[in-house]
Symmetry: C2
Subunit: 262 residues, 2 copies
Amino acid sequence: MTIPSLQTGEAVRQAARRGTWDRPTAGLAPGYVQTNVVLLPQAFAFDFLRFCLRNPKPCPVVDITAPGNPHPTSTVAAEADLRTDVPRYRVYQEGRFVEEVTEVTHLWGADWVGVLLGCSFTFEEALRRAGIPVRHVECGCNVPMYITNRATYPVGPFRGPLVVSMRPIPGDQVTAAVRITARYPQAHGAPVHIGDPAGLGISDLSQPDFGDPVPIHPGEVPVFWACGVTTHMALMEARLPVVITHAPGHMFVTDLPVAEAI
Amino acid sequence: MTIPSLQTGEAVRQAARRGTWDRPTAGLAPGYVQTNVVLLPQAFAFDFLRFCLRNPKPCPVVDITAPGNPHPTSTVAAEADLRTDVPRYRVYQEGRFVEEVTEVTHLWGADWVGVLLGCSFTFEEALRRAGIPVRHVECGCNVPMYITNRATYPVGPFRGPLVVSMRPIPGDQVTAAVRITARYPQAHGAPVHIGDPAGLGISDLSQPDFGDPVPIHPGEVPVFWACGVTTHMALMEARLPVVITHAPGHMFVTDLPVAEAI
């Protein structure tokens, strides 16, 4: 998807704020870092931040606001407002999905905190630039994601399994894929597992737990990266009275160039 | 300094706990990651953590405990107690040094949090293994440190200048020094500045603000890395009612092998 007018983080955020863009952000603002968004009351923010720091591969912290302040660091996104600048939000109460909305100003409290977490869109751009196929982009579908048999390190009410995304990579490009993605620790970094899905407790690659299955061609190896859905599962598990996230694929687009995400 | 009996993190921590070792940890437990230590009440911990996350080069978070829990993550240091396992602590009140002690169990409160921050001892070990000179180790003195004209990103009461450490590196080894230290983002990572000290507002390398001056040989370039003293200056600036740190050079020694700090 290429939208000529949405080529920068600022343009996407303003379109989301005005309500003229409420669709996924894949392919928008190429070259700018996109992030997961978690908005929650301060009472839970310290434990949540500790959970992210203890599980840095699935939950890389890119930015966090002061309590009550909906504006990220100006270098991350100038003039941005986390209550309005995401195309679609999801509201959860007690671990259950309640509604999907296009702005959350009415829900944001005086003590709320915004957390921005890295997203694999960043390294997919780098993989493509290096000529490494990104199958779900080729197929125009969502990346396949799997719940693994690995547990995250629990902190306070936050716990749950590690979730991974999978990209099939030609055998002779796996080394390059490792080296390239390792440069982006704030976008999940290097793979957590390469090859045998059973080693992660995944019995059938054609049945992902989230997203869509993708074909694996002869000579390709399934490569697994830590996935931001890990954070969402831990948030559901915590059954907080209320928490808001971006809707899947509807990311917050920053002003950070991908080249500087190294 | 080589102490035959203090070859592991566990051995150093137990000697500190028993009171049989209250001296600096440089050279002890070679190959194990050493860290800065900050102990403070939870009321300030969230802002302090946000300060560290906004300033990751000088303040790389290696671990953080739950409020009231003095034990780090078991993979970081099994069976450790942050109230007793540091050789010497410093206690500060309202930004002023109060006393230096060998354990702080009597000061630790039910809501206190322990934060472990990366330390350049980790990458110095890697530099030496690569045949790159580490001048202050050769000289048997403390690394020279300088207050720069760069400000840290302020968070809550925490603010202050970036402090750097300096190591003179032969011109043909600077590239290797950059590449090696870049592998250790949790130990300050790659240099923040190479060459001209004036670019950091440093007028005289022979007059460091902390530590000792070291000779720079012909053909060597001064290379500057972010320094953990940045954190201490921000803590002083914040004038918290009480905060405890390790005494300079008297680090907390973990069970993490340096090879895995990548």
